[in-house]
């Protein structure tokens, strides 16, 4: 088993270009949460040529709608949601500088192509391991769209947040590779 790569956010092109599908990565720094409703709002703002509530250059969006924090917790359980629902919006966000996405499940061809074009990567976190993943999130603060409840955009401070590279900047796909290796 290869040793995980430690990465600090924000990410530069050089950081993401060295990543390969299958690499285990531990992320430290600020990342942003965003899922269906928040993505639609960001996308609509970009269409109208308006500024976004957060600067996404070099940033990572984590597709998650956390459970509410209990007293004393930084955040409630916080595992990834299915990424495919964000496919319609992701290429546009990469065009303006988004460098990473964390979720689970397959991405459309257009999204994989956009990752090659704009130099970005797609990471998977373990779906359904929300209690475990929340341990790596030290701080959470709503920075936009509080009215969306669990779908609000949060700024998270993470330390050694465990992910694995599914799609890299060369167009490789860990889901396809893994399935081919083990199919009978």
């Amino acid at each position: 088993m290869s040793q995980p790569i430690r990465l600090k956010t924000p990410l530069a092109d050089a950081d993401v270009e060295k990543l390969q599908a299958g690499d285990k990565v531990l992320l430290t720094g600020v990342i942003y949460t965003g899922r269906d409703a928040a993505h639609k709002r960001l996308f609509d703002l970009l269409k109208e040529g308006k500024p976004l509530p957060v600067d996404l250059k070099g940033q990572i969006i984590y597709y998650v709608g956390p459970a509410p924090a209990k007293p004393g917790q930084a955040i409630g359980s916080a595992g990834p949601t299915t990424s495919g629902r964000m496919d319609a919006y992701s290429p546009k966000l990469m065009e303006i500088g988004l460098k990473g996405m964390i979720g689970k499940g397959m991405r459309k061809k257009e999204v994989v192509e956009a990752m090659k074009k704009y130099k970005a990567v797609y990471f998977a976190a373990t779906g359904g391991a929300g209690a475990l993943l929340a341990k790596a999130i030290k701080k959470a603060q709503v920075v936009a769209y509080e009215d969306l409840g669990p779908e609000a955009i949060n700024q998270l401070e993470v330390v050694d947040f465990p992910v694995i590279v599914v799609n890299d900047t060369q167009g490789n796909d860990l889901y396809q590779q893994g399935m081919q290796q083990y199919a009978r």
Partner: protein, 279 residues
């Protein structure tokens, strides 16, 4: 005739909502242990370890296993000798869901389909009511996450498709779902009935304890074959490649119309949650 107060129903539903989201069943924990042993992929083994560790944290720290604490799906078996007093039955259940999701720090995931505005208390609950003999109420709460629920289907086959047609479609469907429903999954298959009853049958199949086969030998054999074929797809834990894509396949069957051959698939992720109580 036995009187049951609506407040008691609310209290039971409240507790079941919390318990089902915090405490993974012994049958699932055992299936995760067995899955870890059988898994050949190193990354897959690691996923199993993470899921077991996650279940331990959830149990010990009393936090949800998964942030998607689901829509509250309830199966209620209402004894025909029961008289509910002190309130409205449906309102009592929804109040239990409201309190459970608030007090348990569970995520509220119910929203308006078009506007996508959150109802903010995870109601309305999805209630499946069945009247049975006796003077008790059995309530099962089975929170259903969106990621796995989205990978559901109903297919009105032709009778000429036969049992092979059903099996092939189940395998194709799981392959297409791939990494989306958070494998290792539990596959519920419903065969027969009408369009809506078939879907409900697939969902009910998920309630059977893991490790328990269908008592009908033909269906038990079908379950075993489907599990082998699904696991041969190589999707593996989290879709990262591996031997264990599903922990179990459960098939339930009911009679259908002479012209029809409905089948449905309902998938649960490894956070295979349900808790029941009898009042």
């Amino acid at each position: 005739m036995r009187e049951i107060n609506a407040k008691q129903i609310t209290e039971v539903v409240r507790k079941l909502c919390i318990d089902s989201n915090l405490y993974l069943g012994e049958d699932v924990l055992k299936a995760l242990d067995e899955g870890e042993k059988k898994e050949e992929s190193p990354v897959g083994k690691e996923v199993f370890q993470q899921l077991k560790e996650n279940a331990r944290i959830a149990r010990e720290e009393q936090v949800p296993i998964c942030q998607d604490t689901g829509l509250a799906v309830l199966f209620v078996e209402l004894g025909q000798e029961v008289h509910i007093v002190g309130g409205d039955f449906n309102a009592a259940i929804n109040e239990g869901v409201r309190q459970g999701y608030k007090d348990g720090y569970l995520r509220k995931s119910s929203c308006h389909p078009f506007a996508r505005t959150n109802t903010k208390d995870n109601t309305p609950a999805i209630i499946h009511l069945e009247m049975v003999p006796g003077e008790k109420i059995k309530i099962t709460v089975a929170p259903k996450g969106g990621g796995s629920e989205n990978m559901s289907m109903v297919n009105m086959l032709s009778p000429s498709d036969g049992i092979e047609g059903v099996k092939n479609r189940v395998v194709e469907w799981v392959k297409q779902a791939g990494s989306n429903p958070c494998p290792p999954i539990v596959v519920g298959v419903g065969v027969g009935g009408t369009f809506e009853e078939c879907a409900l049958t697939a969902k009910k199949a998920l309630l059977r304890p893991l490790g328990q086969k269908n008592p009908d030998p033909q269906l038990a054999a079908m379950e075993e074959e489907l599990l082998t074929r699904v696991n041969n797809l190589g999707i593996g834990p989290q879709g990262l490649g591996g031997r264990i894509t599903a922990l179990a396949v459960h098939v339930e069957m009911i009679p259908c119309h002479i012209a029809s051959f409905p089948m449905a698939v309902n998938i649960n992720c490894h956070a295979h949650r349900h808790k029941e109580a009898v009042i």
